[in-house]
Symmetry: C2
Subunit: 313 residues, 2 copies
């Protein structure tokens, strides 16, 4: 077993951080270590937390983590920010509270940018979930920001997905518009000390009634005031109930298969694109074809077929 | 020349709609027609319009379209909704005003869902831009909803990108967090009849000052009240100025090359993934590998390498 994989399996934070960085950089060492750790994965409960900006997700994650720590559970946190394709840098915002957790050995926090090029979630997120899982984390929290592709994708990674809303602002309606209703296993109406909370809950519940009319589980709607630690114990309990439900109905296997399929697709895509766009032999050819497309001498479909003809058996 | 391509080049709405549908379904007929129309593209000015939900983008697009029509220009509108990966259906919301435009021969409107599987923007959007361009539209407006990957991706398609904000709600700061500041060619503070508009403009301008300190063009910040048609003529003028700037600095060629590269990547990705995941010969093998990953008998990286070994030269 190589050193870095051994370090990860022992839960060593430096090994975890290093392997994540290698995975983000598509380093061949990462692939080797990922192969080693895979058999030790599958224990962590992966919780996706999504919702509009300003809904207090970070604070909710902070409080959830503190609650899990009280129970003696180890926690991994993955925060995914939409980021610029130009600067490559992610501005982190007000994650100050998170820093408190960073000094706790039982917590590992990683912030990742989404990559501009291809796909809603940064592709390395699958690796990071596996790494944290193999490192002995009992719970892995995956936070995605905004309403868009990343939210829709998180359901492929998470065992349990929380959709966080706030009272007012027509959030419930906006959420339906955005098509993210179907991904929720649990709704959380955070900032429930604000006016309009009853209306928000009623709106969501009536939507749940329609959506869940033919299923055996009705998606629960919880209220929290994360910054005052209100409703957190109840939320942890509800997440536990959902986990039990997944186990009882064998839905966990279905969910995990979905994750592995998404991961497999992602690795294949990444390898192929690197092969085509980074290999020195192809790079020139690809640039030349883009030139010709610009000059209308060739069309994109013919160009694609030419490249595929060169690489496929 | 095949009939459908000929119809598109004549601007026939039924041919346009049909070719878009074929492209969305990855029909081989679409690829053939796309090859035919490509030489006739490159005339339309593609304008990306992005920003948070509730910022009034649809109304803004409605008013922009009316203004372009007054000038005798033909307009294509592509509205991209994040949509459920489960239902496959996009809920359209309050696009009632848009319907007014639907009776105008000089306007073509298409609403597209984002696909859950792969990529922020639905991959067919590149095709749709080319189709509308080839059909003789002078302006193509591409609307993306929410703050996420689709917003970051739209810059690869658009010649000019508008980022739409509203006063209050800390939008400016949220936008920076989301990393979408760099994509704006023009900022639009819509709903400028609300309080806090001066503060919003000042905030954005101070950010622009930092971001543009070393560039020759300072990103303009405009105010509009789209629902009262205020500021629209000025916005159209500003878009025209940006177009002239792109032409003068040869940036348009750079921008277009970027679009063609993204399109080429997308076609290749789509073809490869269809080849691997839809071909009957592979499908069983892939399913079998996912089973083995689930059972920890094989890891995702080794599985990916096995599949790649079968298809690559």
């Amino acid at each position: 077993m190589n050193d870095i994989a051994a370090g990860v399996l022992k839960g060593d934070p430096r090994s975890i951080a290093r392997l994540i960085t290698l995975a983000e950089n598509n380093d061949p060492i990462a692939a080797k270590a990922m192969k080693t750790i895979h058999p030790k994965t599958g224990n962590a409960h992966v919780i996706g937390i999504t919702g509009v900006m300003g809904s207090g997700k970070s604070t909710l994650i902070y409080e959830l983590t503190r609650e899990y720590r009280k129970k003696g559970l180890k926690v991994g946190i993955i925060a995914i920010d939409p980021t610029s394709p130009f600067s490559g840098g992610a501005l982190l915002g007000d994650r100050i509270r998170m820093m408190e957790l960073a000094t706790d050995d039982g917590v590992f926090i990683r912030s990742m940018g989404t990559r501009g090029m291809l796909g809603g979630l940064t592709s390395a997120v699958y690796d990071v979930v596996e790494i944290l899982d193999a490192s002995g984390k009992d719970v892995v929290l995956v936070e995605t920001v905004g309403v868009g592709q990343a939210e829709v994708d998180v359901v492929k990674i998470a065992d349990t997905t929380l959709v966080v809303l706030v009272p007012g602002l027509g959030d419930a309606i906006q959420t339906i518009k955005a098509g993210i209703m179907e991904i929720a296993d649990i709704y959380v109406v955070n900032k429930a000390d604000r006016s309009g909370v009853e209306q928000a809950v009623a709106e969501i519940e009536s939507l749940v009634d329609i959506a869940c009319s033919e299923t055996d589980r009705k998606t629960p709607v919880l209220t929290t005031v994360a910054k005052e630690n209100k409703g957190i114990i109840e939320l942890v309990k509800e997440i536990e109930d959902h986990k039990n439900y997944l186990n009882k109905t064998k839905m966990l296997d279905v969910q995990r298969r979905k994750r592995y399929e998404a991961e497999l697709v992602e690795i294949i895509r990444k390898r192929l694109m690197n092969f085509i766009f980074d290999e020195s032999t192809f790079k020139g050819k690809v640039e030349d074809l883009i030139d010709q497309i610009s000059k209308k001498k060739v069309d994109p479909y013919t160009a694609a077929e030419e490249i595929l003809g060169k690489i496929l058996k």
